[in-house]
Amino acid sequence: MTLIHSEKHDWKTIWEEFRKGDKGAFQKMYNAFLDKLFAYGSKLTSNTSVVEDSIQELFLEMYTHRKNLSETDNLEYYLLKGLRRIIFHRLRKENRFHSLEDDNTAAQNIVFEVEENTPVDFKEEKIERVKRLLSALSPKNREILYLKFYQGLSYHQIGEMLKIKPDSVKKQVYRVMSGLKDHVKNKLWEFFLLCFRA
């Protein structure tokens, strides 16, 4: 907890310095968040140059409007939200996505790597079941999980970003987790049985 806290405090100061026009602060923010932004952008589109151009646009935009920017207690959230907006704006322009459905503006590129990450003693049919469970998730639900666990955003922030009620964001996370729990529990149970037999 202390680690995260001190980081937050630090960013607040850096953010203030940046708003006053300090290029060193600008560079610090860029260095610190580039990887996170690139990782998130790559989940929204597989077109790497769109991701890179959007990151560039995001920082340029921030710099240009720095004097009009408000205080922010969560810089990461601020940047991710901005990047998301820019990327989908570009994608709409390029790919002519006609956004009839919401899912056209959700992360299309999140793939859960069940195979590589299951415990060795996990049976094949179980792997299949987990895979099926995860691949059945909608792009929006995948993005919820990604933002929750990989970017550490709060339910409230995720809701605001994806335009869903924070309550339903939480519900979706819990639903997926309980689904996974069932599989893992069974597996452990089998594991215990094996131990007893031996």
């Binding site: 995260i4 990782a39 069940v114």
Partner: protein, 395 residues
Amino acid sequence: MNKWEDYIEDQKFVKWVFEPDENINRYFEDYLRNHPEQKEELFRAKEELHLLSISNPKISFEKGLQLYQSIMNQVSVKDKRTFRIRRMGVFMRYAAIAILFLAIGSMLVYFPTRGRMDLKLAEELFLRDAQYYPVLYFEDGSKQEVLSENKYIDLSVPGKLIIGNDTLSQNNVTAEKKLPNLFIVPNGQRLKVCLNDKSEVWLNAGSRLILPKSFSKKKREVYLAGEAFLDVSTDLHNPFIVNTSTIAVKVLGTKFNVSAYPEDNEVLTVLQEGKVQILDNNAFFSEVKAELSPNEIARYNKTDKQLDVHVTNHELYTQWKDGSLRFEYQQASDMIRKVERYFDIRILLKDPAKGDEKINGKLDLNVNMDEVLEYITKITHAEIRQIDNKTYLLE
């Protein structure tokens, strides 16, 4: 004691699962030493959450650095711009921009790469101002719209400026005004310009041409964003150079087409007559990348920065200036993009795969727009539906 609900809300736990590092591992070792009874629960929760693993691509160090330098370069240009505009006030905004262009124009000779950056910025800046007619900007910052039916500018008669059917005598305009040095053609419009070296430039919809102050019969260099067909007057001693944000085309006297829209991923140069050289504008010293013969096309890909030369039929790329488009096994999205610019409309695709379909045919743009749209439905085997004033849906 802890339930899984508590674990997944704990940032440190999540970090331990997905991005473990030495510190966080140490933290949990310590935690387990103090709470050995939670060991099984904790590991089970970890295993569950770990099923949600996703690989995270990394941006290379070089790429990150390159991106940052590009941001800083543009930032310093922006700084300059806001400073000038602030001082002069909103009222003088266009004047300020025009002056900036002049400054850029003279800078270009010494700092070619910087000039291109500013061109990019200019593209961005002007795209925001919606215009309905072609506009000329003069050196003193004044502007003039080309309202006449005849979209033609002639700079080749000494002492005269011919706009459409009107002739302005240079004596009537102030000394600073002199010549226009920026031509902006919005979507839905076209403009033909005859330069003072007698070279002719057809500017297609959505294009911008910058004529540096230094432009003369001896120093023929222009900047283009968008598409233009050029018929360059022959002068074996003074090459004519068309700069884009990525490549430059160097000629002595020929007819050719350059398509360099900022929003397109490819810059296309097609030669009708004579000979042209394609130079790489990204390199500090522009180097010759290719030489084209008639009916060859050079495609420069902005993503991988590769230049390919192929044989083609130049008419496929040059007939727009006479009001028609021809396609031979080309992507439907290419045609849609051209029609959008020509009529200043937006055509959405219900099925993005439609844009990848290959099409053949000829499109006469001189008929009215509805006929063109109907023709599009025929070659793409789709229906078209109007959504609003300027937007259509192909489904």
